[in-house]
């Protein structure tokens, strides 16, 4: 099922994500997918997140699809040029992938092969544009395809970026290039998210708020120091630091955040970062 169809039905869409393993043992990834299966509309499969080499997101998407879990195939521009990207997108459609999330990708220096050649032949905007063109039956060079995909195209945006305006300009470019929905970077401040939505809503494209599960106060501080566009306010860090049961506190915080932004947007995207098993409890607590 394409996410665009769910949005068209007026549904509040819920997605989460799994990360492919470093290696060939897919059991944990598939178990995580199974745990979420009945509770979410679709599951993102990350593409070598943080530039760390892993099992590929295309094959992982297929493995999840075979188990009845709707994949959102994440594609970054870091590792493949326009020939490989277009080819992988055709392959994805041929095996039943319906949803694609188009990203630029982290720089290679963040991962375990900092000496690798960074590609970035395309970027998120031109990847969206070229995927839209595939949908319309032509490749990027204007050559006709023998059988075309019909992907639902997703993109990302950072609501807490400072300054926000360049993000909004790029978001607008992504919409014009073909983005049909957005998933946001993790948001911890409903007021900031509201200010962002106030400007983004004019674009008329569904936005899913990103919710990161806090695992500890240390993780929150680490993200504040190191992760672009993520800011965990002090009261939340204190709440995690003084928690007797970190899991329960984390679930409570996530549910509260969802409650705070639910009416502003068209869905949520839960990023469990290792706590995939707690996603159902978060959704229970949030009443989703």
């Amino acid at each position: 099922m394409k996410l665009s169809e769910l949005f068209a039905q007026g549904k509040f869409v819920v997605t989460s994500e799994v990360g492919p393993p470093k290696g060939t043992d897919t059991s944990e990834m598939l178990e995580n997918g199974e745990r979420m299966k009945e509770r979410v509309d679709a599951v993102n499969i990350t593409d070598q997140q943080s530039s760390v080499m892993r099992l590929g997101s295309l094959v992982s998407s297929l493995l999840l699809k075979q188990r009845g879990i709707e994949p959102i195939y994440q594609v970054t521009c870091r590792d493949r040029n326009r020939i490989a990207l277009q080819s992988d997108l055709l392959s994805a459609w041929a095996v039943g992938v319906k949803n694609v999330l188009c990203l630029t990708g982290d720089y290679v220096s963040l991962g375990d092969f900092p000496e690798a050649k960074p590609v970035f032949d395309l970027d998120s905007v031109s990847l969206l544009a070229s995927t839209k063109q595939l949908n319309e039956g032509q490749d990027l060079g204007g050559n006709d395809l023998q059988g075309a995909p019909d992907f639902c195209l997703g993109a990302v945006v950072t609501p807490a970026a400072d300054p926000l305006e360049p993000q909004l300009i790029k978001m607008e470019k992504k919409v014009r290039a073909g983005a049909q929905f957005f998933q946001t970077q993790g948001t911890f401040e409903p007021e900031k998210f509201a200010a962002f939505m106030n400007q983004a809503k004019d674009l008329g494209v569904p936005v899913m708020a990103g919710i990161i599960l806090l695992k500890s106060a240390g993780m929150a501080r680490f993200m504040n120091q190191n992760v672009a566009g993520v800011h965990v306010p002090d009261p939340l860090i204190k709440e995690m630091a003084s928690a007797e049961d970190r899991v329960q506190t984390s679930i409570k915080i996530a549910a509260r955040l969802i409650g705070g932004i639910k009416d502003l947007c068209q869905g949520v995207h839960i990023m469990p970062i290792g706590w995939e098993r707690h996603v159902p409890a978060v959704l229970d607590a949030a009443g989703l």
Binding site: T104, D106, Y107, S109, L110, P118, F120, D121, L122, D123, S124, V125, S126, L128, A129, L140, V156, V157, T158, A161, D162, P163, E165, P166, Q167, I169, K170, E172, K173, R176, A177, Q185, N226, V227, A228, G229
Partner: protein, 232 residues
């Protein structure tokens, strides 16, 4: 200007395994300015090599090793030393080392690595860099090149990786190029130009020098070399 830096002695020694005598060649152009190819640099290299037990049969510093005619002329008086040498160790940029190798007909080892300047070719006392991409974006980017200012060479706006206006790659050393572009465009009241630009797609064939320019400069260098040979 091409900036070079001396390779570690261990690496240089690994090039010279099985050889007993070497001729040193320096360059009084960019390499001298880089502290790798000037006279004092070559004398220091000679001291270091002899300390390692490597015999140096002679040395010469030539102006502009990138000019093959000058290399030929400069090495002419050293014919006997070169016959004695197993190889030439060249302390300059990659262009000078290649030009020397083309001219001498004997093994040439590079003593240096050439450091990327992010695209600059000619000398320019500023921080602007041009990648000679053949597809200038400066109009939509407020006169700041996204190919040299952005680590990912993005041409459609910033990625999500910048934090506090700094690039995710070496935040201590690099500002986010797109932050600079944004601020410039904003100050020029030209953000709409960026907003309305269609998705930009890099054409990498344009990063190759045009055929006529390649043949012209090749022609110039070859003619120069031939004239030098004829004159000697």
């Amino acid at each position: 200007m091409l900036v070079s830096e001396r390779k570690p002695m261990e690496e240089i020694k690994s090039f010279l395994v099985g050889e007993s005598k070497v001729f040193l060649l320096g360059c009084d152009g960019c390499a001298a300015a880089s502290g790798t190819g000037g006279e004092q640099d070559i004398l220091e290299l000679e001291r270091q090599l002899e300390k390692e037990g490597i015999g140096v049969v002679g040395w010469k510093v030539i102006e502009f090793l990138c000019q093959k005619a000058l290399v030929r002329r400069g090495l002419k008086p050293y014919a006997s030393a070169l016959r004695e040498a197993d190889s030439i160790l060249v302390s300059t940029c990659g262009i000078g080392a290649q030009a020397t190798a083309t001219v001498v007909g004997m093994p040439v080892h590079p003593a240096c690595n050439t450091i990327s300047l992010g695209g600059i070719r000619g000398e320019w006392q500023g921080e602007e860099r041009c990648l000679e991409c053949g597809q200038c974006y400066l109009d939509i980017t407020g006169g700041i090149c996204p190919l040299t200012a952005c680590t990912k060479q993005l041409v459609n706006g910033p990625c999500g990786g910048a934090k506090d206006g700094r690039c995710e790659f070496e935040p201590d050393a690099r500002p986010c190029g797109w932050q600079l572009i944004y601020e410039r465009l904003k100050s020029l009241d030209r953000l709409d130009v960026l907003r309305q630009a269609p998705p930009q797609l890099k054409d990498f064939t344009q990063m190759q020098p045009p055929k006529e320019i390649r043949s012209t400069s090749k022609w110039a260098i070859d003619i120069q070399a031939k004239e030098e040979v004829a004159a000697t």
